[in-house]
Amino acid sequence: MCTLDNIIQIIGKEVARLILGLIGVLVVVVVNALVLTWVERKVSGHMQRRIGPKEVGPYGLIQPFADGLKLLAKELLTPANVDKPLYYLAPVIVFIPVLVSFIVIPFDGFLQVKDINVGILVILAFSSLSVLSILIAGWGSNNKYSLIGATRSVAQNIAYEIPLLLTLLPVVFMANSLSLRDIVEAQREGWFVWRWQFFAFLIYFIAATAETNRTPFDLPEAESELVAGFHTEFSGMRFALFFLAEYTNIFIASAIATTFFLGGYLGPVLPGVVWFFIKTYFLVFVIMWFRWTFPRVRFDQLLNFSWKILIPVAFANLIVTGGILKL
C-alpha cells in the first residue's frame, strides 16, 4: 500500500509538472504570437515610413487582441471541393510539433518543462513534422496554388533541414551533450558563436529563416506567384492557427540559435530568463528585418543555395570542428 501511494505520488508529481508546464507553454505560445504580430506590424511600419497600428490601445498594443477576436468570430468557411478530413486536420497538426518543441527549451536555469537528454533531437524531429501538415493543407485544399505551395515547401524543408542539422552537430560535439541545458552550461566560458562556430551560426540562421518560410525564402506562400500558397483556402481560426504556428516557429528557431550559439540564458546582472528573451527577440527582429528589406529568391536559386553552398560549407565546418576536438 505504502509503495503504491508513493508511486501515485511520484507519478502525480510528474504529471502535475507536465500539465503545469503544458499550460505554461500554451500561454507562452499565445502571448508570444500576440506580441510578435504587434512587433511585426510596428517593425514593418517603421521600415516603410509608416507608424503601424496606433489606434487600439496605447501604441496599438491591443491590436493583436482585436485581430484575434475578429478571427475567432469569423465563420469557418469550408470550400466545396476540399478533402474534408485532411482540410480539418491540417491546422491542428501544424500546431502540435510547435508545442512539443517548447517543452525542452531552457528559458532559465530552472525554467524548463523537462530536460530531456536528447532535447535537440526532439526539436528537430518534431519541427520536421510541420512540413507534413503543410503538405496535408496543400493537398486537402484541392487548389492548385495550395498544392504548388505545398510541394515547394517539402522540397525546401528537405533541402534546409540538412544544413540545419549539420550546423548544430559541431556544437553538440563541443558541449558533449544533446541536452539543451548542458549545451547552455557549456558556454559559461564563452558563447559558441565566438568559439569557432561563427559560420555555423550564420548558416544555421539562414537555414532557419528558410525553415520558417520567411522572406527571402517564403516560396511556399509566395504572394505574387501563389496568392497565399498552402493556406490560400483557409480562413478564420484555421488560418489563425497557421499564423500562430508560423510565429511560434520563428520564436523556436531563434530560441535554438540563442541556446546553441548565444549562450542561452547566460548573462550578467539581469536574470537569465530576461537575457534569454532579449537574445531571442533580437534574432526574431533580424528575421523580420529580412522580410521587409529583401525580395524573394527563385525556387531553383533557393535549392541551389542550400545544396551547393550551405551544405558543403556546413560539412567542412563539421569535419574541421570534429578534427580539432579529436586532436
Binding site: K144, P216, D218, S224, T293, F294, P295, R298
Partner: protein
C-alpha cells in the same frame, strides 16, 4: 519617295498615293486587294516595317481594313487599305507574318464580324458569348450561327501532360484584371494565353456616340496611370485634324505636366515591380514620392488620377508660381531619392539574380509584335515618339533617350529609372524656357466639326507608342475612333517570352512590362 518606287517594282498593280503627312499623319496610302495583302505584308516585314495598327472602319457600303506599317529608324508610315464586302466579310490573315496581327484580327472579328481565313484561333478577345451583334458595325448585324460557335470565350481543358493555372483575373501579380491562363508542368510554363476583356468598356463605340468635347474624360479612363499623356494624345490628334495652332506657353506646360505624369507612372511601376519580386517595402517609398506629384498636379488640374486638363487649342487653366516652385522642389527631392533607390535596390544580390538575363527579347520582337516604350528601348533601339515624331514642345527641348542592351528585365528596370531622370531634365529645361503668353488658342468653336478625312497620330505614353486613328465625316461626332494602345502590343509578347520559363520568372517578366489593363481592354 524611295519606298514608293520599291513598292511599284514589287507590285506593278499597286498605285501608292502620296499623302500630306502634316494633315494625315501618314506618308503613303495603298489600296490592296485580298489576293495581294499577304504578299504586301511579307514585303513590309522584309523591309523592316512593323505593324503599328490594324483596324477596321465600317463605311456601310463596304468595310475597310486599315493596316499601318511604320519604321523604327525613320519617320515613315504607310497606310494600306483593303475593302471587303459587308455581306460576307472575310479577309486573308497575316497573323503568320506579323504575330501581333493575331490579336488585332481577333478584335476586328468580334467587333465587325470579319472572318480571317487561316487564322488559327478565332475566338472572342474582349466580349462575352452572350453578345449577339457586332458592336462597331454602323447597322446592326446579328451574329450568324456558324460564327457563334467561334465566339465562345476561352475555356481551357485539362490535359494529361500538364495542368492549367489561372493567373488572374483575381491574383496579386496581375495588377488589375488581366487573366493569363498558363499551362504548367511542375514549376515550368509550357504555354501562356492572355485572356482579356474583364475591364472592357468599349471606348471606341462610346466615341461614336458623343461629340469631340464630350470624349475628353474617356481618354483618361483608359490609362489611369498615364492619364495626362492619353489626354494629350487625344487632344493633339483632334487639333491636328482641325488644324488648330496651340500657343507656345500651353505647349510647354503640356510637356511639363506630361513628364510629371510619366514619372508618377514609372514610380508606381517601380514599387509594383519590386512587390512582384517579393520586396514589399519599396512600394511605400515610391508611393511617397508619387504623392508629391499628385499634389502638384491636383493643384493645377483639379484631379489626382484621371486628369482631363488639356483642351483643344490649349489648357483648362494656367499654372502659377506655386506650381513652378513645387516642381523645382520636387525635382531636387526625387534626385536625392534616386541615389537611395540605387543603393537599396539596384545592387541587391537577390534582385540582380531575379532580373538579370530573364525575359530576354531578341531584335525581331519589335518588328513582329510592334512593342514600344521602355520595352523596345531595353533592346537598344532608341525608338521614342517624343523624338521620332515630336509633339508639344519636345522638339525644342534637348533630351536623352535611355536605352538598354540586353533586353532583359534588368534593362527594362534600368531604362525606366534612367527615363525618370531624363524626364526630370526635360522638366527643368522646360521650366527655364517657359514662355509667357496665352494658354489657349482663340476662336475654338463650341461645336468642333473637323473637315472630312482621317488622321493617325502618335504620342509617347509612359508605356510606349499610343496611336489614335480618327475618321471624320464633317459632323461633330467622330465617325470612327481607333486607339492603338502600347500595353496591348507589349503584353502580346508575353506568351512567346514565357514559354519554358519558371513561373516566378514569368511573373517578373509580366511585371517588367508595366501593364495597365484598362488601357488594353479599353
Amino acid at each position: 519617295m524611295e519606298i514608293s518606287t520599291k513598292i511599284k517594282e514589287s507590285f506593278p498593280s499597286l498605285e501608292p498615293k502620296e499623302c500630306p503627312y502634316e494633315q494625315n499623319g501618314y506618308h503613303l496610302s495603298i489600296e490592296a486587294t485580298k489576293s495581294n495583302i499577304v504578299d504586301i505584308a511579307r514585303f513590309f516585314i522584309k523591309e523592316d516595317f512593323y505593324l503599328a495598327d490594324l483596324c477596321c472602319v465600317d463605311y456601310i457600303d463596304y468595310l475597310e481594313l486599315v493596316y499601318f506599317f511604320s519604321k523604327h529608324d525613320k519617320l515613315l508610315r504607310i497606310k494600306v487599305t483593303l475593302k471587303i464586302d459587308p455581306e460576307k466579310p472575310s479577309a486573308p490573315t497575316i497573323s503568320h507574318i506579323y504575330n501581333i496581327a493575331h490579336w488585332f484580327e481577333r478584335e476586328i472579328h468580334e467587333f465587325f464580324g470579319v472572318l480571317f481565313d487561316g487564322h488559327p484561333f478565332m475566338v472572342y478577345l474582349f466580349l462575352h458569348d452572350q453578345i449577339d451583334f457586332y458592336p462597331l458595325r454602323k447597322k446592326q448585324v446579328p451574329v450568324p450561327d456558324e460564327d457563334k460557335r467561334l465566339l465562345n470565350s476561352f475555356k481551357p481543358e485539362e490535359q494529361e501532360d500538364g495542368f492549367f493555372l489561372n493567373l488572374g483575373p483575381q491574383h496579386p501579380s496581375t495588377h488589375g484584371v488581366l487573366r493569363v491562363v498558363v499551362k504548367m508542368n511542375g514549376e515550368y510554363i509550357l504555354e501562356a494565353i492572355p485572356v482579356l476583356g474583364y475591364l472592357h468598356r468599349m471606348h471606341e463605340k462610346m466615341a461614336e456616340n458623343r461629340t469631340y468635347q464630350q470624349f475628353y474624360p474617356n481618354a483618361a479612363r483608359m490609362d489611369y496611370l498615364g492619364a495626362l499623356n492619353f489626354n494629350l494624345g487625344y487632344v493633339t490628334t483632334v487639333e491636328k485634324l482641325c488644324g488648330i495652332e496651340v500657343p507656345e506657353r500651353a505647349q510647354y506646360i503640356r510637356t511639363i505636366t506630361c513628364e510629371l505624369n510619366r514619372i508618377s507612372s514609372h514610380l508606381l511601376w517601380l514599387g509594383a515591380f519590386l512587390a512582384d519580386l517579393g520586396g514589399l517595402t519599396p512600394f511605400l517609398y515610391t508611393f511617397d514620392d508619387r504623392e508629391q506629384i499628385l499634389d502638384i498636379l491636383e493643384a493645377v488640374t483639379g484631379s489626382r488620377l484621371t486628369y482631363s486638363y488639356f483642351r483643344f487649342g490649349g489648357l483648362f487653366n494656367d499654372v502659377d508660381d506655386n506650381f513652378v516652385d513645387g516642381v523645382k522642389k520636387f525635382i531636387n527631392r526625387l534626385r536625392s531619392r534616386f541615389s537611395m533607390y540605387d543603393r537599396l535596390v539596384t545592387g541587391n544580390v537577390i534582385f540582380i539574380n531575379r532580373v538579370k538575363d530573364i525575359g530576354v527579347m531578341d531584335r525581331s520582337y519589335p518588328i513582329r509584335y510592334g512593342c514600344s516604350g521602355p520595352v523596345i528601348r531595353s533592346i537598344g533601339i532608341p525608338f521614342d515618339m517624343r523624338k521620332h515624331e515630336p509633339y508639344a514642345a519636345y522638339d525644342r527641348i534637348d533630351f536623352k533617350i535611355a536605352t538598354g542592351t540586353n533586353a532583359d528585365n534588368m534593362d527594362r528596370y534600368l531604362v525606366r529609372i534612367q527615363e525618370m531622370e531624363n524626364s526630370l531634365d526635360i522638366i527643368e529645361k522646360a521650366l527655364k524656357e517657359l514662355p509667357t503668353g496665352p494658354i489657349k488658342a482663340d476662336k475654338i468653336p463650341k461645336k468642333l466639326k473637323p473637315p472630312k478625312g482621317d488622321i493617325y497620330h502618335t504620342i509617347e505614353s509612359p508605356r510606349g507608342e499610343l496611336g489614335i486613328y480618327i475618321v471624320s465625316d464633317e459632323s461633330d461626332v467622330p465617325y470612327r475612333m481607333r486607339w492603338r494602345v502600347p500595353s496591348y502590343s507589349n503584353l502580346m509578347t508575353f506568351p512567346e517570352l514565357a514559354k519554358g520559363t519558371l513561373i516566378a520568372d514569368a511573373i517578373a517578366t509580366l511585371g517588367s512590362y508595366d501593364l495597365v489593363i484598362p488601357e488594353i481592354d479599353r
